[in-house]
Symmetry: C2
Subunit: 329 residues, 2 copies
DNA sequence: TTGTACGCGTTATCAC
DNA sequence: GTGATAACGCGTACAA
């Protein structure tokens, strides 16, 4: 690895001059610039980011913290973030928290230890205390926050819309699957759905759940149809749970969407591949990632941002687990 | 951020001593150690990884390069890697190459610029030239390599097994979907299947494809049944393609697995959720990730490794797109 | 327009 | 046992 000193020697100048052509600041004669540049070529020089980072107390790294990349909703988010920051020359320091506070704290720690210039976090820690003392910008993703900039889908409205679309399609005894209490977005959707159904004239049940893991979801799906056998519509807290419900309904021989309608949330890639394909509320994950990255970059540059909290639209994706709208309604 | 100097001052010792207790080397009196440790507590000190990295020319970072985390096969790999290296205190510098050589090169560049201690690469660059001049260990993942350590599923045998299982279950006119030419694992599977079918007494067709994207796969699926309408068994190059084939077959009103059997490859999470669920050759992605990480760590520590190339078993997962074995055969 | 010298926070090598 | 001090590679006052 050639250093700036080597380049200086070969070019017959001082390190300061090399640094100047490198960073394109300060005056430097055209001829010397050429000499330096050819020297760089010759030595195949490229500046040491670590030394830079040490001196400037700023790296070109951004920390990305996800609950679990294995959950199909997150790869899209991650790609959105990466594609956006990559354009600006930033790279990703990446970790999964598994929703464990210690892991989360640990990653935040390594982020600052490595001089990251910003953090994007999609974890569900509502306390935010982990981020209190940070001197770098933090953007929360897929999560609302009073104190911090954030990018999230409009869960409340999404929940309302899901409920509305289901009622519009004729379900009369709807079960809402209330997602894990500690996951804010899940609660928002639930609230939205609850609001709408409360105002409507259909019966509904509420069933609590505690995670988004498919294996667990299977159990709730089973429980759902045992406890509320007359359910004719299910508002699932996300697509994974919806998938489990769909499977269970099929297993019980129920006709979908004729006897039971199902609407999921997120529109993860596999939802369109199910059979019947899953009607769902789409969250624009990739765009959300991009948006969060944009926001973070603006924040890092201390540019003015009109809106610290960007709420992304959640749209109904009509597929095969919902019926046609009843026209005479 | 407290520095080592601050700690030294508070503890009334020199930075050298602090460094010694920090790194647990050299002699240091029990009493002074205590003083230093309490000083650290007090200042909430934690060493600056960047400075360390600069001096030692080694960070605690490992570079992970994937083709595309959005492809459902890779999140599992990534998790395997992360879980393993995390235990040893390493963190991930992460990037997607999109199979673009420039991006790949760019990421490798930032990896070395940031003093990573090792690289795990799952890209499909067969040239390997990008990695030639690296002074740090590299492990290829989901990919064979003569020159570099690597971890991969036994594609050849997987391909053979897939073909065998399909023949065993009675398909007589099998179409092999030959995956993209530049993706080695896909070619291995293809070769394996080809081998077996060549030796067997069933007819078969071969159809080329050029990517693993679902939207493209749909077209090939369509083409497949147009070109070879009498196909009664499809050996897909991976689960994404298999899914497309399954959908097309269903669309055409073919009965699965009665008229057409389908076997995928990878066993991505969604395969079990399809309807009918997809029979496939399982690659243990998570374990492969772990294995690659283990290997890399051993390499970094210059420990002896019996085997630079670890081949993981690929197993047949029998689900609903294949029939029962015909007993009287 | 260019060069010198120092500091960024650590670790390691010497003296003491 | 402990303390100066020189690296590590780079950026930047300040001097020339």
């Amino acid at each position: 690895m050639a250093t700036i000193r080597d380049v200086a020697k070969v070019a017959g100048v001082s390190v300061a001059t090399v640094s100047r052509v490198l960073n394109e600041n300060g005056y430097v004669h055209e001829d010397t610039r050429k000499r330096v540049e050819t020297a760089m070529e010759e030595l195949n020089y490229s500046p040491n980011e670590v030394a830079r980072s040490l001196y400037k107390k700023k790296s070109k790294l951004i920390g990305l913290l996800l609950p679990d990349i294995t959950n199909p909703f997150f790869p899209q988010l991650a790609r959105g973030v990466e594609d956006e920051i990559q354009k600006e020359g930033f790279r990703l320091l990446f970790g999964n928290s598994d929703e464990q506070p210690e892991k989360e704290l640990d990653y935040i720690h390594t982020f600052v230890q490595n001089n990251v210039v910003g953090i994007i976090s999609a974890t569900n820690d509502r306390s935010d205390t982990n981020y209190k003392d940070l001197s770098i910008p933090v953007v929360f993703l897929d999560q609302t926050s009073k104190d911090y900039p954030s990018v999230y889908g409009d869960g409340r409205e999404g929940g309302r819309t899901a409920a509305k679309e289901m009622v519009k399609r004729g379900s009369k005894r709807i079960t809402i699957l209330k997602g894990p209490a500690h996951i804010q977005p899940a609660q928002d959707r639930f609230q939205g759905a609850l609001e709408y159904l409360s105002e409507s004239n259909v019966d509904f049940y509420v069933m609590g759940t505690t995670s988004f893991a498919f294996e667990e979801a299977k159990k709730w799906a089973k429980e759902l149809f045992e406890t509320y056998p007359d359910t004719d519509g299910v508002l699932a807290s996300n697509d994974i749970v919806a998938t489990a419900v769909l499977h269970e309904a099929l297993r019980l021989g129920k006709s979908i969407p004729k006897e039971v309608q199902i609407i999921g949330f997120d529109d993860i890639p596999q939802s369109s591949l199910l059979f019947p394909s899953l009607s769902t509320m789409r969250q624009p994950a990739y765009e959300m990632g991009k948006e969060a990255a944009c926001l973070l970059i603006k924040l890092m540059r201390k540019e003015y941002v009109e809106q610290n909290h960007v709420e992304m639209p959640v749209t109904f994706i009509e597929r095969e687990t919902t019926r046609e709208v009843e026209v005479n309604e």
